[in-house]
Amino acid sequence: MDFIVNVFLEFVNKFLGQAPLLIGTVVFLGYLLLGKKIYEALAGFIKAYVGFKILQVGTGGLVGTFRPIITSLTDKFNVTALVIDPYFGQTSAEVGLDFVDSLQFIGIVMLIGFAWNILLVLFRKFTKIRTLFITGHIMYQQSAVLLWALYWVIYSATGEPVSMFLVVVTGILIGTYWSVASNLLIEPTQDVTDGAGFTIGHQQMFGSWLVYQFSKVIGNKENDINDNHMAGFMSIFNDNVVSNVLIMSIFIGTIMFIVGPEAFNFNTSKYWFVTYIFERVAFFAVYITIIQLGVRMFVTELTASFQGISEKLLPGSVPAVDCAVTFGFSPNAPTYGFIFGFLGQMIAIGTLIVIKSPVIIIAGFICLFFDNGTLAVYANKAGGRRAAIIVPFLSGLIQVFGSALVLSFLVDSEGIIGWMGMFDWATLWAGTVILSNYIGIAVPILLIAGLLIVPQIQYSKSNKENYFTNMKY
């Protein structure tokens, strides 16, 4: 008996418990199920495994570069500076979960979420859910952050690894969010894209729907922002290496100047303080690029196996895709989103500093550009230029204040460097995490039920005849 238990424990700790092995195996099995040859499945396993290890190199580098800078600020002023950016949120989640031997559960949460999404669409006549979320890297990120945040506020005091119960609840919850939120956004997205036949699977679906309704009221959709040309220099922000370095230069540069050169151990015969700062700042772009390389490698494999499964099971479902796909329909929106979102975030960050908040926020590029850019797309479609200006500005404020609030509950997590910051995460998920802190696991469970009601209401208010068939795709 002991022998069997030992073998099982060996299997769990040394195989299932090793995140890259688990993901590689899922890919391997997925490819076999799709009828691929065994050597193709093996190649998939290797790409997934190596991709994940590359991701870990990037994560380690990001934390290693950033933590000393935050610590220097904390030591001097007693404030914790954290970045609102999905890669910082993801990294914080991975480090925090790894610390309690629970890194491998992220993949399981993601699989449960995906399987649940498939189930909900399979029974679409009952659930009224039409969409399948397929943006793999986002699914991974969100699974990581939600699992970590819920674990931290509900169970971290125990010091135990994450329980299977929490993994299952989180998986079903995130899968419900993916389904319900992207389903909600179908009709506004059809408006934005003139009936292109997809919806968004990203980090601001509820936000986009809210913004679309709000903009109808406050704006005038006749003044479309895409009717005039925008400044050429904005094109440099199309490259995220450049944007990361520029944005981080402003924030990290400022922090390092405030803290002063004595706080940093650098070789004064090879660096001026300014060149040392620039090198630190550039490292952000270095490690985020490495993280993206790793994620792209293993997510490509995961998504290829997911795609096949979903195509076989769910023909006719609506794909929920990366928000950037909407930018083609509204090319000036990202610029409006970026500029007015930046303004909003700056004012909010300034406010946090003035009121001596223990957590201060550093703006992240992806929130500013992709999140606010997407909101600007929907705002403009429903409310024209006035909405495209007001909405990103308000969103900038919300992204910072909402994130600062939830971060104040997570700030003691091992190696934390930031939060997702994207609209739905500064609102819906920030609220869920905070309530869970006080009430416990009942909150996520009730939220699952609450979210499932949304498509029912949506259906009852719709033109029922073409609810399932209005996708000209």
Partner: protein
């Protein structure tokens, strides 16, 4: 073997979607192809390594268009019709 590149801002979300659609289009046209995907930033400078590069319209100006690759700018990344038209034009069909 036609070499195709699908490029987007981050090299992950949109480019993978385009890649899957390009695969379907080329299968229908019965043209064998090898498709890579990457971010626009990484793809710049690779114009001589590919026959066709697909990317979103808002990246116009990021690629040099007198090199080997024909650049196809897409307004709707999800449109099979736009991808098919772009592919046919690039291959002179």
């Amino acid at each position: 073997m036609i070499k195709v590149l699908a490029a987007c801002g981050n090299g992950m979300g949109s480019s993978m979607i385009i890649k899957m659609k390009i695969k379907q289009v080329f299968q229908e046209l019965e043209i064998p192809c090898q498709i890579d995907h990457s971010s626009v930033g990484q793809a710049r400078g690779s114009e001589n390594n590919y026959d066709i590069i697909f990317c979103a319209l808002n990246f116009k100006g990021q690629f040099v268009d007198d090199k080997k690759a024909k650049i196809v700018y897409l307004q709707n990344l999800m449109s099979d019709a736009e991808i098919r038209e772009g592919a046919k034009k690039a291959l002179d069909l």
